[in-house]
Amino acid sequence: MNTDAAAAASADRRGSLLNLEAVVVAFGGLQALGGVDLQVWKGDRLALLGPNGAGKTTLFNVIAGDVKPTSGRVTIKGIDCTELPARFRPRLGVARTYQKTRLFRGLTVEDNLYLAQTGRSGRHLALLRSGVDAEFRERARAMAETVWLADVIGVTAGDLSHGQQRQLEIGMALVTGPEFVMLDEPASGLSRGERERLVQLLLSLDPDITLLLIEHDMDVALRAAQRVMVMNEGETVASGTPDEIRVDPLVHAIYLGSEAGLRGADP
């Protein structure tokens, strides 16, 4: 791991993990993000709210390195990542999920969870298995249990139910042993019971793990997060604790609608 990063992390227990400065993303003439500033501290639990098209996923993609910002700066653990491609993020302890599941549909649950770990280790070019692999396999099986997939561990990912695929999606992010997890609508398409299990899972995470969450389900978002940021049309419009947001009239106006209550509308 990078020594700068280690130094920055040890300097302050609650040090800044992620820093966005005036991030702008424009797709052609369409401005998806209009100068967003964001600071996330180690151990933070931050939820991003906002209507569809507010720029939440674009913001995610910028942080994850899948989209390069048109201007602005992205710093993770003190390292300027603005220009670094996505594949360098895992070395900084970043893991993410996708709104639309991105699984290795031709491989088994175990292989999915196994592969998720090898990318960071540099083992993925190896032609032989070794002791490290056994360790990865063990962790993969343990994670399958954590995300309630132990009985289907040998099933091909493409054959899983939708809910199971969401669980695997999260498992693949968590199995890498990340310091910073970004979850893009983890609860979408889940049943009520599954949502409850998801919240329990998120609350049971090691307090040192930093969590950034996009979630339409207000119940899930506000229970899992300590801090909420509301976006609209590519800009931050409000931020505060879950309780503050719950009563913010502006948030109600632009996002929740008059009688939507705590149920977000899924696309």
Binding site: P90, R123, H124, L125, L127, M172
Partner: protein, 366 residues
């Protein structure tokens, strides 16, 4: 709950044995045994021509299948790479005083093989690196471009190809005047290639390659260098295609730019499509069907009367490919697979067992 972790050794080895004795493996092993015994009862022409060519095309087509099934890349450059190896062997082995064209380096044939494979691997690495950022139809197009450019490159660099080609390329003493030995060597090589590709599929490298096939974006966000991975897979396939190319030039005795023109390039793709682009066995199966159709179809008396002859060979193969594509996009291997599943279901039904559907659902294979 832990299914294998603490399993006792006996159970594990029994499970391993059962996995090794799967229907698929048993059939492949039987086919291998048959191929090895063939010289005892097959005619010389059948062994030295039909089956030898089948093995060569099979190995080359297997590289297409490997890239397509594990890497999601349909490559049209594999015949070009085989041709590069062939040209290198030709340039290296033909003696200075022999009448031929090319560089006429007059090297030891085995040194020439190493040289040819090294050059082919290097070329594959460069071409693979250039194509590694593309997927799907774009990858297909860029490799098609390689094939076309390759033809023109060898056509215009006449010191390397003599335009009319390099002739009189003899195999090493081990195989010269021993076509049956060459055939047996090809069977062994085919088995090695087949086993290597299948074993590769379960190595960290192979799994990562399949991950890239399924979702390159996710792979990148998990820290994989997707382009490098694709490049290395392409290089490996290129090296293997080079092996086929070496044997091809030994078997053919000559190579010229038309040997790697678009015709043979498409033929190889067709071999892969007939067999099934997602099944390694299919490569050899497709090669056999293609070579046999080419050589024996015209002998059918009936075929004569409906105006189908060697001149119509392309039409027949075209119709054959179309039929196979309609019946099963996974080629003959896919058809066989379905028949196998169907039979199994029948057996289950007749036994009245309820284990059928689950097994059938999980039964599709790489």
């Amino acid at each position: 709950m832990s299914p294998t972790g603490a399993a006792p050794g006996r159970a594990q080895s029994r499970r391993t044995l059962r996995r090794l004795l799967s229907a698929r493996n048993v059939v492949v092993a039987a086919a291998t045994a048959l191929a090895l015994l063939l010289p005892l009862f097959g005619s010389n022409f059948f062994v030295e021509f039909v089956m030898t060519r089948t093995m060569i095309l099979g190995i080359a087509a297997a590289t297409i299948v490997f890239l397509a099934a594990y890497g999601g890349m349909v490559s049209l450059a594999q015949y070009l790479l085989a041709g590069v190896a062939g040209f290198m062997v030709g340039n290296a082995v033909v003696a200075q005083d022999a009448w031929s064209k090319g560089l006429k380096l007059g090297w030891n044939p085995w040194v020439a093989v190493l040289f040819a494979l090294a050059v082919t691997t290097a070329v594959a690495f460069v071409l693979g690196a250039l194509a590694s950022r593309t997927t799907g139809i774009y990858f297909l197009m860029i490799t098609l471009t390689y094939a076309v450019i390759g033809y023109y490159v060898f056509g215009s660099i006449t010191p390397l190809s003599g335009f009319g080609g390099i002739t009189g390329i003899d195999p090493p003493g081990l195989f010269e005047d021993h076509p049956q030995r060459m055939y047996l060597a090809l069977v062994v090589l085919s088995v090695l290639v087949y086993v290597a590709f299948r074993v590769l599929a379960v190595t960290p490298f192979g799994l990562a390659l399949q991950g890239i096939r399924d979702d390159p974006v996710r792979m990148a966000s998990l820290g994989f260098n997707v382009s490098l991975h694709r490049t290395l897979a392409f290089t490996l396939a290129g090296f293997t295609a080079g092996l086929a190319g070496v044997f091809n030039v030994w078997w053919n005795g000559q190579i010229d730019p038309t040997s790697i023109s678009i015709g043979p390039t498409l033929d190889l793709l067709i071999v892969a499509v007939i067999g099934g682009t997602l099944s390694l066995e299919g490569a050899w199966l497709g090669a056999f069907v293609f070579v046999a159709a080419n050589n024996y179809l015209r002998n059918l008396p009936l075929v004569d009367h409906i105006g189908i002859t060697e001149a119509r060979f392309n039409t027949i193969v075209g119709v054959l490919v179309l039929l196979i594509m309609i019946l099963s996009p996974d080629g003959l291997a896919g058809i066989i697979d379905r028949i196998r599943l169907g039979l199994r279901r029948l057996v289950h039904l007749s036994r009245g067992s309820g284990a059928g559907p689950a097994e059938a659902a999980a039964g599709s294979k790489p």
